[in-house]
């Protein structure tokens, strides 16, 4: 655990990736926001409120992407005991939770003018809310132990159990939704069913790439922090050891 393999090389590399990701994020996000807020046409049904989608949908994509990446890291940690994977889970979980929260909040803001209500208990919203709690569980478990390595391992196991469960939860929630179909959802199906127009798809994809770059930059920052704090821990032990 203390013989972390070549952090120097990783950090030199991560530094360049961070700079690249940060620059790309700035470019994509500013271009994407320009497209989303100014250049793209308003929706014929929802008028200007459709612009919330350009934040909401990429946030939703990322919330799922980050959890999937954490599941891969969890697998790496439990099988190969690679310490960096544990750091990754610790670094990614709060960002993932933040994107999930952004998705939920922007969804509520979007839902109010479109459906006339802040919150609808439909399958998607409910699944995202459950995902949010899975993130919270991982964060809580990460910090619940005096030994940070044990926290990482426990959290990795929770992420694994969660990722096995996630399809089941998703399926059960969808099944539940068909059982209790709320009446107000007709407007939702109207929004989602027609194919999305290219004028809207382009800014959406640009924003999604921007979000991904933003996430990469943030996660590298947090990862570096984790490595640094662990290095301090090791250095202290070494000075004591003499």
């Amino acid at each position: 655990m203390f013989g972390y393999a070549n952090p120097k090389r990783y950090q030199a590399l991560s530094h360049y990736i961070f700079i690249a990701a940060a620059i790309l994020a700035t470019l994509f996000l500013s271009f994407g926001l320009y497209l989303a807020l100014i250049a793209s046409p308003p929706d014929y049904q929802q008028s200007e409120t459709v612009r919330i989608m350009y934040v909401h949908v990429p946030a939703a994509w990322l919330s799922m992407f980050i959890y999937a990446s954490m599941a891969v890291a969890a697998l790496v940690l439990t099988i190969w005991k690679h310490t960096l994977a544990g750091f990754y889970i610790r670094a990614a979980a709060p960002i993932g939770a933040a994107f999930t929260a952004a998705c939920l909040i922007s969804g509520a803001l979007w839902g109010q003018p479109t459906w006339g209500t802040w919150w609808v208990w439909d399958a998607r919203l409910t699944s995202v809310l459950i995902l949010f709690f899975l993130y919270l569980g991982a964060i809580a478990l990460n910090n619940a132990y005096d030994n940070p390595d044990k926290g990482n391992q426990a959290s990795a196991w929770l992420v694994l159990v969660g990722s096995v469960n996630l399809p089941i939860i998703k399926f059960s929630v969808e099944w539940w939704n068909t059982l209790h179909q709320p009446a107000s959802l007709t407007s939702l199906s109207k929004i989602t069913s027609p194919g999305i127009h290219a004028d809207m798809l382009t800014p959406l994809l640009v924003m999604a790439v921007g979000f991904l770059c933003l996430y990469s930059a943030l996660v590298i920052l947090r990862l570096d922090n984790e490595i640094l704090s662990r290095k301090i821990h090791v250095l202290r032990l070494r000075t004591i050891n003499g």
Partner: protein, 220 residues
């Protein structure tokens, strides 16, 4: 005596002689069910429509209670050390533990369930209720085992445990309540009930292995 039996009987005996949970949990179950008419009104029609979900929630909450204590005693008094040093596989221990846990914390709820359904105004066959509650309580126990082993030795164990385990209980809640609901409309509740049994068939063999892994991780 095999290690599996040894652990099973150790847990059962110490619970029964303790004036145990097997008496206390059904009381808790009944208590929660009693809260529903008091908060929703005694109108049987209202209760009837909400009953499937309410019964499952009551069973879920009752299943949360024993989780925190599950492994902490064995951890504190050093039994866990001896189990880890045992020449027999630790899975015997977790297996015995799971069965004992269900007999103490699941079976009483199963036995109570037809009565509770009756009190909530559901007019359904009691064997059907049992067929739903048996896999549901087993799943609560199995998933709870994993969460208990996961949060063992963590700070603020009980709150953390609820946060971890409730999202994982959601499918059981949905299919359990759905099955009860379909029974009520005299629709054969095969679908959701079979989902529960399928979930059980998947979870049952995996849980002792995962729990063992987690306990070993906690002992390091």
């Amino acid at each position: 005596m095999t290690p599996f039996n040894a652990i099973l009987f150790k847990d059962l005996k110490s619970d029964f002689r303790h004036g145990g949970q097997f008496l206390f949990l059904p009381a808790f179950f009944l208590l929660i069910v009693m809260l529903y008419p008091l908060s929703l009104g005694a109108n049987l029609k209202v209760l009837q429509t909400a009953a499937p979900g309410l019964l499952m929630i009551a069973a879920l909450l009752a299943s949360l209670l024993p989780l925190e204590k599950l492994y902490t005693d064995d951890m504190k008094d050093g039994t866990m050390d001896l189990l880890m040093l045992s020449p027999q596989p630790v899975s015997f221990y977790t297996g015995g533990k799971i069965l004992a846990h269900w007999i103490i914390a699941g079976l009483p709820l199963v036995i109570m369930s037809p009565l509770m359904a009756l009190m909530m105004g559901l007019s359904i066959n009691w064997p059907d209720v049992l067929l739903i509650f048996i896999p549901a309580t087993l799943l609560f126990v199995l998933i709870g085992q994993i969460a208990a082993a996961l949060s063992l030795g963590a700070r603020r164990g009980s709150v953390l445990l609820a946060l971890l385990v409730i999202p994982l209980y959601i499918p059981v809640l949905i299919f359990g309540a759905g099955a009860l609901d379909l029974l009520q409309t005299e629709n054969p509740a095969k679908g959701p009930m079979l989902f529960l049994w399928a979930g059980l068939a998947f979870t049952l063999p995996v849980t002792p292995l995962v729990t063992t892994k987690l306990l070993k991780m906690q002992m390091d």
